[in-house]
């Protein structure tokens, strides 16, 4: 497997992770941070949905992986968010509503995380969560991207605005005008989206950008120009809150692990962002959809196929036994 705890590579620079309580190869950690950072910069997503599974498959305990990746996602989103801010591509008004509801969601997410960990079903919920959300989002994204690629091939000009700007969501009460996004929508779907992403983000160790971006585009009809910047600001704020919540309730944030991933991620993201500007949005979406589906399949196989070992053991504290 990738970077075993007892490594035997050529680059023997081991780093001891004080919270995970094992040592891993430093270059392996910075390397996966860099690759995932590259992809995250390219697609404008946090990258947590790739990083958390990679760490879990490398032998880092799931609670430490999830909590430390939340810290890494903060760093990965910061450079992106700043770059979008300079280009004035963020709707801060919309972001504020998303963030406030998102923090409540993150709180519930971390609470569920602790509860599931105690009853031994955290791994199952993480696997199922990844499978369901990555699977469904991946399929929707792929179909959508393939359709638009098909139209592009046919020489058809892509519409600048999505057809049917108003859907049933826009008929809900409590409407608010978001000037930057040129939207006049009910606050309810905004809050529900914000809270759901916060919940899933904290529970699964993902920024949620890959769910938030399509939700903002297809449900709220936020224009493509501000979608990525706004989603990055939301991811940044929610993951910052989730990091603190994980640190205070689960003590499972490994700052050294997070820092190694951050360094790789931040550097990778800069290169990814340059590539992302060259490629067309529909091409990017198709690629992202494929990656998302691959991760979903990996989790599906772990649930469906007979595991290598049906027995597992973990430490448990007296408080958890009661």
């Amino acid at each position: 497997m990738l970077g075993q705890a007892k490594n035997s590579g050529n680059l023997q620079v081991q780093i001891y992770l004080p919270i995970a309580e094992l040592s891993l190869n430093l270059f392996f950690l910075i390397g996966i941070g860099g690759i995932v950072g590259f992809l995250s910069g390219m697609f404008g997503v946090g990258g947590g949905f790739l990083l958390t599974p990679l760490l879990i498959f490398s032998g880092i305990p799931a609670p430490v992986a999830v909590a430390s990746v939340t810290g890494q996602v903060v760093a990965a989103s910061t450079s992106g968010a700043l770059s979008y801010m300079r280009r004035n591509l963020i709707d801060f008004h919309l972001a504020l509503y998303l963030i406030l509801s998102g923090i409540i969601g993150a709180f519930l997410g971390v609470y569920s995380f602790s509860a599931l960990r105690q009853i031994g079903q955290l791994d199952l919920v993480i696997s199922l969560g990844y499978l369901i959300f990555l699977g469904s989002i991946g399929i929707i994204m792929l179909i959508e991207a393939l359709r638009s690629l098909w139209r592009y091939r046919g020489g058809e000009k892509l519409p600048t605005k999505l057809p049917g700007k108003h859907n049933w969501v826009h008929g809900l009460p409590l409407r608010i005008r978001f000037k930057r996004s040129n939207l006049y929508v009910s606050v309810l779907p905004v809050l529900i989206i914000g809270a759901s992403i916060g919940f899933l983000g904290a529970l699964l160790g993902i920024g949620g950008g890959f769910i938030l971006v399509p939700a903002l585009i297809y449900i709220l009809r936020v224009p493509g120009s501000v979608v990525i910047g706004t989603s990055l600001v939301h991811v940044l704020a929610i993951m910052a809150a989730a990091t603190i919540l994980h640190a205070t309730s689960n003590y499972s944030v490994d700052i050294l692990l997070a820092f190694c991933l951050m360094v790789g991620g931040v550097v990778g993201a800069q290169f990814g962002a340059s590539i992302g500007k060259i490629l067309r949005a529909d091409q990017l979406r198709a690629m992202l959809a494929l990656i998302v589906l691959l991760v979903a399949l990996r989790f599906a196989s772990s649930l469906i196929f007979t595991p290598d070992d049906i027995f597992s053991t973990s430490l448990i504290t007296l408080a958890e036994i009661r």
Partner: protein
């Protein structure tokens, strides 16, 4: 290998700490009294030396070698849960569990000969000190089958390198001088350890000696480990500030 230190520290010379009926005593020394976990820690090894000497003032006569030795090394006690996956609703999920209380977090048995070669009389004693036996000796909580889960726990612990048997782990350098080397994995549990040396002659236990050492996080690792538990809020906030700073710095450094 490079970490192996040959500075011998005599940790105890309690001449009369042994049961007086033994005609011999064991003098032991460890290469390290404390194993430090710092940034570059990727496991370590520890060597224990020992010598068999006549007991001063013993009433029974001194027995000549050759001897047989068993050494057990026990880590700090922890609670562990063992879970079993079963296929339910078409997917594999954990649905059986058993909690083992105060199980050793680390347990190795090293011997100078094959365990079978130790004659039948002390075998009852040995049976209890075998690593596989440990999960059977502690209190459990849960409804699952104890027999099966205890066996699986020792198997899992052996797979992790936290439990184990090395039947030729104790080497005699002369008739009375012996040494043993202990490998500690990178995820070695932190806390106090106890090494117990059992001396056998023709299957009879003739002397026994214990020596302690500890595994500690030191320096920066210790600071991080303890502050995560003691000041979790500050620790979380610092992580976030570090993340923001790293992200910002990256943006500035790569701005074109």
């Amino acid at each position: 290998m490079g970490l192996l230190k040959y500075i011998i520290i005599i940790i105890s010379l309690f001449l009369f700490s042994l049961t007086p009926s033994f005609a011999q005593r064991i003098i032991s020394a460890l290469t390290d009294k404390e194993i430090s976990i710092d940034q570059g820690f990727s496991g370590d090894s520890l060597t224990i030396f020992g010598n068999i000497e006549p007991q001063i003032g013993a009433k029974t006569p001194y027995i000549e070698g050759p001897f047989s030795i068993i050494v057990t090394i026990k880590g700090p006690a922890v609670n562990r849960v063992v879970r079993k996956k079963n296929k339910q609703y078409g997917i594999w999920l954990n649905n059986e569990e058993l909690i083992f209380e105060n199980i050793p977090s680390y347990y190795w048995l090293l011997a100078s000969d094959k365990i079978d070669d130790f004659s039948s009389k002390p075998l009852d004693k040995i049976a209890d000190i075998m690593p596989q036996k440990q999960p059977f000796l502690v209190k459990v909580r849960g409804k699952a089958n104890r027999e099966i889960f205890a066996k699986e726990l020792s198997r899992l612990m052996m797979k992790k390198g936290l439990f184990g048997i090395n039947e030729h782990g104790v080497k005699f350098l002369s008739d009375t001088l012996f040494s043993l080397r202990l490998e500690l994995p990178s995820d070695v549990p932190v806390g106090s350890y106890l090494a117990t040396i059992y001396l056998f002659k023709n299957g009879e236990l003739i002397a026994q000696k214990s020596a302690g050492f500890s595994v500690r996080k030191t320096g920066f690792e210790r600071l991080l480990g303890s502050s995560a538990k003691q000041y979790p809020l500050a620790y979380g906030i610092i992580t976030v500030i570090l993340a923001l700073f790293t992200g910002w710095l990256g943006g500035v450094a790569f701005r074109r």
